[in-house]
């Protein structure tokens, strides 16, 4: 990749001003309406999470929280 290389092809900036070389018609570039669902509200109990981690160990979040709590991040991918 050439350092400082910039492509200004129309359609690669979204309506939020965010640039990506991925074309706008790809699913990963669709952004939801402002009232998109954001899951449990403040004050609610976090649903159970019991899943394998990167080492294949089954992790139950409720049993591995810190002494004050947990930060639980939902992200799109560690691959793309």
């Amino acid at each position: 990749m050439r350092r400082g290389h910039v492509t200004d092809k129309a359609g690669y900036y979204d309506e939020f001003g965010f640039y990506s070389p991925m074309p706008m018609d790809r699913a990963a570039r669709r952004e939801p309406d402002a009232d998109f669902p954001t899951g449990p509200d403040i004050g609610a109990a976090l649903p159970n999470i019991r899943l394998p981690n990167q080492h294949g160990e089954i992790i139950d979040v409720a049993q591995h929280r810190g002494r004050k709590g947990a930060i639980v991040v939902f992200h799109r991918s560690a691959y793309w």
């Binding site: 290389h5 001003g17 976090l46 979040v61 991040v73 991918s77």
Partner: protein, 286 residues
């Protein structure tokens, strides 16, 4: 991707405060261990391969159709966001934004939860203007600015002994203190001001909101696609911003004229972790 690397960078601080970090996606365990090994991730990257947990939270991205981006596993991704829970698993804060790339930095979220102002650290950029009436120091809460990741610029005003400056809500005759940030390729939000003190002027039968001594203000700040573009490397390593503070300082007997002071800071830009999938599109463009 970059988010997970940044979380690793602040992991010790988050753990010291008593919180454990978990990241969840619909990536396979194989893809997670590959990423984890490459970037030295020490917290759990959880694999929700069939998106059962994502669905149970009600945050499945329904804009993706089942047949789209199969190799990338686009179908099954969540609307990205973060929850903070207490020790009993009750949600005490959450951070979701309409645009997938926008989020609070781990540091900014932690301080919002704790209700504290980030400390000035050796690796974070800072600058000071030493005025006679007001000294202005500004520093970044994180070591660098990142694309669409919202961190805080902390501004400390030190008002000289015996003086006060006016806060918002002061009568029209006085200029209330204000802060503004400018710089190419950065976006800033509304400053958060502490509660002011009250100056009682018995002869005028007035109570006026003022600040004395130390005033700490936080301003949300992020880098935009104007200067950081996915897939194209960085054409610069830093960005210069100007922090301007307008105030009017008075003592008990006399008032100065409204004054503007400013200081300039050079903020490093965080290198982006470029996703594999993006490289494919960059090659097509070139």
């Amino acid at each position: 991707m970059t988010q997970l690397v940044q979380l690793q960078q602040t992991l010790q601080k988050v753990r010291d405060e008593g919180y454990e970090v978990f990241a969840i996606s619909n990536d396979t365990v194989e893809r997670l261990v590959e990423f984890s090994d490459r970037h030295g991730i020490e917290f759990s990257l959880l694999s929700d391969e069939d998106s059962a947990v994502i669905r149970s939270f009600g945050i499945l991205n329904t804009l993706v159709k089942p047949d789209e981006g199969k190799h990338m596993r686009w179908y099954g991704i969540p609307y990205p966001g973060t929850y903070v829970t207490d020790a009993n698993g009750i949600v005490i804060d959450k951070d979701f934004h309409q645009h997938h790339a926008r989020r609070l930095s781990g540091q900014a979220l932690l301080h919002r939860v704790l209700g504290t102002v980030p400390d000035q650290t050796a690796e974070a950029p800072s600058a000071t203007f030493e005025g006679d009436e007001v000294e202005l120091t500004a520093y970044l809460a994180d070591p660098a600015l990142s694309l669409e990741v919202i961190t805080s610029l902390v501004c400390r005003l030190r008002v000289a002994p015996g003086l006060h400056i006016y806060a918002a809500g002061a009568p029209e005759a006085f200029t209330p203190v204000s802060l503004s940030l400018s710089g190419e390729g950065v976006r800033s939000g509304e400053p958060t001001w502490p509660n002011p003190g009250v100056l009682r002027m018995a002869n005028l039968e007035m109570s006026i909101p003022v600040y004395e001594q130390d005033v700490t203000v936080t301003v949300p700040i992020t880098a935009t696609s104007e200067i950081m573009r996915l897939g194209h490397g960085l054409d610069r390593e830093s960005v210069e911003i100007t922090v301007a503070c307008r105030y009017q300082a008075c003592n008990d007997v006399a008032c100065g004229l409204p004054t503007t002071i400013e200081t300039k800071l050079v903020l490093p830009l965080q290198t982006l972790v470029e996703p594999e999938g993006i490289k494919m599109y960059v090659e097509r463009l070139e």
